[in-house]
Symmetry: C2
Subunit: 110 residues, 2 copies
DNA sequence: CGTCTATACATAAGACAATTATGTATTAAG
DNA sequence: CTTAATACATAATTGTCTTATGTATAGACG
């Protein structure tokens, strides 16, 4: 785990991109996938994830589908067309940010 | 300019590394150097910079020297030994963060 | 001269995202 | 029968940053 401060501002980008790559997912599944992909280094907290999902839904970037698994509920999220577009933009923006930071810090990442 | 959100958590790293690379600098000079290095993409605001400098000084990572330029004052900052050490750590931490993010977002930066 | 921009410091109010804490509830393991 | 994992959600608090404000010198331009 690195400084959690660095993660700030990346949550929406992560959620959008993971959903873009893995299709229909539910909240808990997203936390697990991110944990896997980051080899345990990024642990999304529920207090951050759920409000973010609700916000992205309110903005029309995600659509939901509630499914009953036995007596438990699951809320599946899928990107809308706009969501896919924004996901791409956010990833580009992140890459651009890294390039700028590399210039400022004079380091070579990748 | 990218989303200012991404910049969160990077300010201390930027200040420490720029000071490490360029030696003795004063606040305003740091903003200009970062602007240059980032080709105008990162504009440090005074409201963020000065409190950060004061904080790093209070933590013993920076030491200061006040100089009079005509009737105007300048406060030069230099890294302490601990500051140099932490600067290195912070840059490593940032690189590590980028590597993790690259795995999660499945992108290739650099 | 007078005004605008750049230089140079600093602090305070407010916004915003994320952490931490808390709450509800089902399912599986020991 | 209690703990851990699954699965949702919201509220209080924290912390960093932006925006606003304040003081003051120096140089450029008319």
């Amino acid at each position: 785990m690195h400084s959690p401060e660095l993660l700030k501002g990346t949550l929406q980008t992560i959620v959008l991109k993971v959903l873009k790559d893995h299709g229909k997912m539910y909240g808990y599944e997203i936390t697990q996938r991110v944990k896997e992909l980051s080899e345990g280094r990024i642990l999304l907290t529920e207090g951050a994830l759920y409000p973010t999902l609700h916000k992205l839904e309110a903005e029309g970037l995600l659509k939901t589908e509630v499914v009953n698994i036995g007596k438990r509920i699951r809320k599946y999220y899928t990107l809308t067309a706009e969501g896919r577009s924004i996901a791409k933009d956010r990833v580009y923006e992140f890459i651009d940010f890294i390039k700028t930071m590399s210039s400022v810090l004079q380091v070579n990442v990748g």
